[in-house]
Symmetry: C2
């Protein structure tokens, strides 16, 4: 365990803990470590997710099989990260994808019942798990909300409006995301995003200085 | 408590419990009940969410204030339901909306620390909470995935493809949602959805009988 603990500590759920605390959590929890060589089918779609899966080394691809029998890549996940954590506690916990090792891979598995037991023994671990789920949920919800606006200009304005309300309607809003993260949240290319932000600044709607946005005359454009 | 327990038991998180079990949970947890008359501002945007909020009676509206100072309705929530549960455990737990009583309203508040304490004492309650969060997350993720496809025909196909993979690639897929729920998931009007489903059936792509879809010759249209 000792040799992977540094990697695990980079995962959001575990990032609040010291190395010593993490070793203590894993000392009190039964887990198994499995290695897969590149190209191995790790999990089949249709299987139930009954274990907490920590990807500690390598990269996996998730794929669906389309109606012609062809593979369709859905997502790539790089270590260190958690796999399918939202499915673990859902009633309908069937995996919609095949999980394939894109490189040599090491996974740690923890059975659901032992994870629950660990949550009961360690409130901080439970809180950290709930915090992670909450943040992922909020991210996806925000992304869905922004997706419903079609132009980049609308997306920017509605994103700023959300922050404006969260931050108690200040004249100067703080943007917690980098430009790359913003582009990813909006589902647009970064150069397109930069171009529209420049245009909106030239029109005097707002002024962006680093992570601050000073609102001048931003009217809701929809 | 006794008079509201029937309502609470209709909320997903509490629906796995008998009335007796729910009374026991609430006997061991400090909570407060507050009543608001129609039109009251219950919560301000910018406030931190530190309590679990159960809407037991009435209806609330959530609103943002736009850059012109005008209110913008975001959502209506009817009792019985949970409010802002994903924010409760997020680090950035600032409310992005004002919460206003659309009718006379009764809310039950439970402080976060007491909820955690109750989770530790009662694994079933914790599991039920995690299950609810997991299911909401999966719904939003699925909705976001489907939103990325533009035509209704594509949305239907990609939705069926997901079920096809989850259900172990059978010839006959079971649809777990009603037509209204499907329309809501796809973000389209129900009559439009019905029309496209009819068209696709006429073309011989699949056959829909109640909640079953028999795949004939459904090629991925993208």
């Amino acid at each position: 365990m000792d040799r992977v603990i540094d990697k695990i500590s980079k995962i959001n759920i575990f990032s609040n803990f010291t190395k010593g605390e993490l070793l203590k959590i894993f000392d009190n929890i039964p887990y198994s470590v499995k290695e897969y060589s590149k190209g191995t089918l790790i999990r089949n779609s249709g299987e139930r997710v009954e274990e907490f899966m920590i990807l500690v080394n390598g990269e996996v691809i998730t794929e669906m099989i389309d109606f012609n029998g062809k593979s369709l890549e859905i997502e790539r996940v790089k270590a260190p990260d958690i796999l399918a954590s939202a499915l673990l506690f859902a009633k309908e916990n069937y995996l919609p994808v095949d999980v394939i090792a894109a490189t040599n891979v090491i996974l740690i598995y923890i059975e659901k019942k032992y994870l629950i037991k660990s949550f009961k023994e360690n409130s901080d671990f439970l809180l950290s798990f709930l915090e992670d789920v909450g943040e992922k949920f909020n991210y996806v919800t925000e992304k869905l909300r922004i997706t419903s606006f079609h132009t980049i200009r609308e997306k920017i304005t509605m994103y700023l409006l959300n922050l404006y309300n969260k931050q108690n309607k200040p004249k100067e809003i703080t943007i917690p995301l980098t430009m790359d993260e913003l582009a990813s949240l909006f589902g647009v290319a970064r150069p397109s995003l930069s171009r529209v932000i420049s245009e909106m600044q030239k029109e005097g709607l707002f002024e962006k200085k680093g992570d601050k946005v000073i609102l001048n005359n931003l009217k809701k454009p929809i």
